[in-house]
């Protein structure tokens, strides 16, 4: 019976630890401390040198849990990545994820060698372990702080952190193998890398497509879609790992594919994985916290701090500036990307590999990685939001959309139910406007469900549910936000014609006979604003394109989605100003210089 008791005890303690992690998030949110760090400390407190006094040194299980958790986190990250938003940053983030990681590791290695008195291979292993930015940390800390980054910067960071983990894992495994087995040639390493990433890519793409097909063809009982997708992610990970391909790359790609295709139960899958990811984060960090011994940590803390500082202040900025040099980022954006090189669980997880294999200095790698992660989360995590504002990469908070409820409708994929609270100043209520592709379906008033016909006229305070294609749901927001009471601006300033932000410069050039740089022909107008405007676009922002002027007319999620075209007119015949008119114009000018608009 004693063994049964110990199992029960383990469950109890484990659950209490995880629950403590969850509750501590309240504390963390209040004080703005990086959440992940709090989870780590909970683990440390419970561990053998904290008041908890639990002895835990099961590297095998930590590795198991860590792998699964990381796979889920990466899968979730992929699932939430809109392919459209990363399409334009694919090249820079790929360079950062491969060359960037290598450069960071190479620059960090000499410092590690002398600070920690290691040989070159061992020093390089330290570099590799701490070289990759942590997807979980980046996704989580950026979102948890309510920070909304300029789309291009945010997308680059997310795509980079999603794809560099596989590379860092690979680099670490290679070096561990090199240390434990001995000789290896550079060609062998390069070939191995190419094989792993190719195979990982193939497994991920095929696996992702199979999951999409299965989701849409197989009629699973309600509620099982999300668990099915989650286990499928782990199956994909496992298949890739067993066939010596990069499982992390495979799950990330599979996530992107599943997230960007119409599937059944998409919303419930996302909600479920959100919860699963949180749990994975907490469990992983608490476990890693348990595994570390703060007393042993003291021995190597000084050299570890040196490594951390060099990594953050020299290696990562150097790698970022070198890798992004060929791409159109300004220095402030590069600096921010360099500073957001958050390290997280991946580094500690990677550092547990030498322990698992039983390398001689295994604890040293682990302790250094631990210190680096703590310093990175403390220093960079805490200053993320101020840095974003200082460097003008944060979007103003103001343009937050209204709360939108999305519901999947079983039996088809083309439409979903989207719900809004009807606001008194909304475009919908004031002008009775609604796009032709959406269909009001039901109205909830005073907890009673009515058809639109019964509810007519719809009043403020009602909840309106509409049918709309999932990919267009976001475009409905515009009709349900409170309009700003504003004097109708000079229509000339807004542009003569209105076009979608998703059309390309080439389209415009062709129809209006203007000349654009041939390399920019494929750029969409939204991307053009993103690339050429030095700050986040606001409504009314203008950008010249040959002889016409583009005016940002509608912005959603930081992207310009409607653009006014202001056409040139040579003989600008202004009527002679009356005295009142002249005064009004002067006042307007003075006001705009004061208000800074």
């Amino acid at each position: 019976m004693a063994s049964l008791d110990s199992v029960s005890l383990a469950i109890l303690l484990g659950a209490i630890l995880v629950m403590a992690g969850i509750l501590s998030s309240l504390l963390a949110l209040r004080f703005g401390a990086p959440l992940l760090l709090v989870f780590l400390f909970i683990g440390m407190l419970a561990g053998d040198s904290g008041p908890g006094g639990l002895t835990f040194s099961d590297v095998q299980n930590t590795y198991l849990v860590g792998s699964a958790a990381l796979a889920l986190i990466l899968f979730d990250g992929g699932l939430k990545t809109r392919f459209q938003s990363i399409r334009t940053v694919l090249a820079p983030s790929m360079v950062l994820a491969t060359l960037g990681v290598l450069l960071t590791a190479l620059v960090t290695a000499p410092v590690a060698k002398y600070a920690l008195d290691l040989n070159w291979t061992e020093a390089l292993l330290i570099g590799a372990v701490v070289a990759s930015t942590d997807a979980a940390a980046v996704f989580l800390l950026v979102h948890a702080q309510g920070l909304r980054l300029r789309p291009r910067v945010g997308a680059t960071l997310e795509a980079e952190s999603g794809t560099n983990d596989p590379f860092a894992v690979f680099l670490t495994l290679m070096l561990v193998e090199l240390i434990s087995v001995g000789d290896s040639s550079i060609w062998h390493v390069v070939l191995e890398f190419l094989r792993e990433s190719m195979l990982g890519g193939i497994v991920g793409v095929i696996g992702g497509r199979l999951v999409v097909v299965a989701l849409n063809r197989v009629a699973l009982p309600q509620g099982l879609h999300a668990p099915f997708v989650t286990t499928a992610a782990l199956v994909i990970f496992g298949v890739a790992q067993i066939s010596h391909a990069s499982g992390f790359l495979a799950v990330y790609l599979a996530g992107i594919i599943i997230g960007n295709r119409p599937t059944r139960a998409h919303n419930s899958v996302v909600t479920f994985l959100d919860a699963a990811t949180w749990l994975a984060q907490i469990v992983m960090f608490v476990l890693l916290g348990l595994l570390v011994s703060p007393y042993r940590l003291l021995d190597s803390v000084v050299p570890a701090v040196v490594v951390a500082l060099v990594l953050m202040l020299v290696a990562r900025p150097l790698a970022v500036f070198l890798c992004l040099a060929p791409f159109p980022f300004n220095w402030r954006e590069k600096l921010f990307i360099a500073w957001t090189g958050l390290r997280g669980a991946v580094a500690i997880f990677l550092a547990s590999i030498p322990m698992l294999v039983g390398l001689s200095k295994a604890y040293l790698y682990f302790d250094v990685a631990f210190v680096v992660v703590i310093i990175s989360l403390l220093l960079q995590g805490w200053t993320l939001a101020p840095a974003a504002r200082l460097l003008h990469v944060a979007l103003p908070r103001a343009d937050r959309g209204p709360r939108r409820v999305e519901l999947d409708l079983p039996g088809q994929l083309e439409q979903q139910l989207v719900g809004y609270a009807v606001r008194p100043m909304s475009l919908f209520l004031r002008r009775g406007l609604i796009p032709s592709w959406s269909k009001p379906t039901l109205v909830i008033r005073n907890e009673k469900i009515l058809t639109p016909a019964e509810a007519d006229p719809i009043t403020a305070g009602d909840y309106l549910y509409l049918l709309a294609p999932p990919e267009k749901a976001e475009a409905l927001d515009r009709f349900f936000v409170d309009m700003q009471p504003m004097a109708s601006p000079d229509p000339h300033l807004l542009g003569d014609f209105l076009v979608s932000g998703e059309i390309t410069l080439g389209d415009i050039a062709q129809i209006y006979g203007i000349s654009v740089d041939p390399t920019a022909g494929q750029l969409t107008l939204a991307d053009y604003f993103d690339v050429h405007l030095d700050h986040a676009p606001k409504e009314g922002a203008v950008l010249p394109l040959d002889t016409i002027v583009l005016v940002a007319r509608n912005i959603s999620e930081g992207r310009v989605n409607a653009v006014g075209l202001r056409l040139p007119e040579d003989e600008e015949k202004l009527p002679p100003l009356t005295r009142m008119g002249a005064f009004r114009q002067k006042a307007a000018k003075a006001w705009s210089s004061v208000a800074g608009t």
């Binding site: 002008r431 009775g432 406007l433 032709s436 229509p491 000339h492 003569d496 014609f497 209105l498 076009v499 979608s500 059309i503 389209d507 415009i508 129809i511 209006y512 006979g513 203007i514 002889t547 016409i548 409607a562 056409l567 040139p568 007119e569 040579d570 003989e571 015949k573 009527p575």
Partner: protein, 153 residues
């Protein structure tokens, strides 16, 4: 540039009967084809291609479909007052009843843009638009369009 440099008296349709945006574009393309001697199908496709980028309805019940046509020898305008307003997918949601079609030759460049700007700014003027709506025949419409630009505020 005068609007009447762009549109001839015979290129004015005082009361066009159409039910939809597509039908309106087809009708206008057909009339334009008659007057310019071009292929009506080609004109329709050019207009449609432009509408795909975003509606050419500019608000307040006005639409200005436009495009470039390779074989045209000069800028060609056609004005139509619709018998009954139709939905033109305008941003302000207002149905459209005044339509100005503008076709430009391939090399028109700046002139094309200036003509478009001129038309857009003229028809945005509510006084002018209301006078156009109140006019019942081509002659009356033409005389409103022919008002010298100086009287346009």
């Amino acid at each position: 540039m005068m609007i009447t440099d762009l549109v001839a008296p015979e290129a004015i349709i005082p009361a066009l009967k159409v039910n939809s945006k597509k039908q309106a574009l087809q009708e206008l393309a057909a009339r334009a084809a008659e007057l310019t001697g071009q292929n009506d199908r080609a004109i329709f496709e050019v207009l449609l291609r432009r509408e795909k980028l975003g509606t050419t309805a500019v608000g307040y019940g006005v639409a200005i479909p436009h495009g470039k046509l390779q074989k045209l020898d000069k800028i060609f305008g056609l004005f139509a007052r619709l018998d009954r307003p139709i939905d033109f997918e305008a941003m302000d949601g207002q149905p459209v009843d005044l339509v100005f079609l503008l076709l430009a030759p391939e090399g028109a460049g700046a002139d094309h843009l200036k003509a478009l700007a001129r038309i857009a700014r003229l028809l945005r003027d509510q006084d002018i638009a209301n006078k156009l709506r109140a006019s019942r025949d081509a002659q009356a419409i033409y005389s409103v369009l022919a008002l010298p630009p100086a009287t346009v505020p």
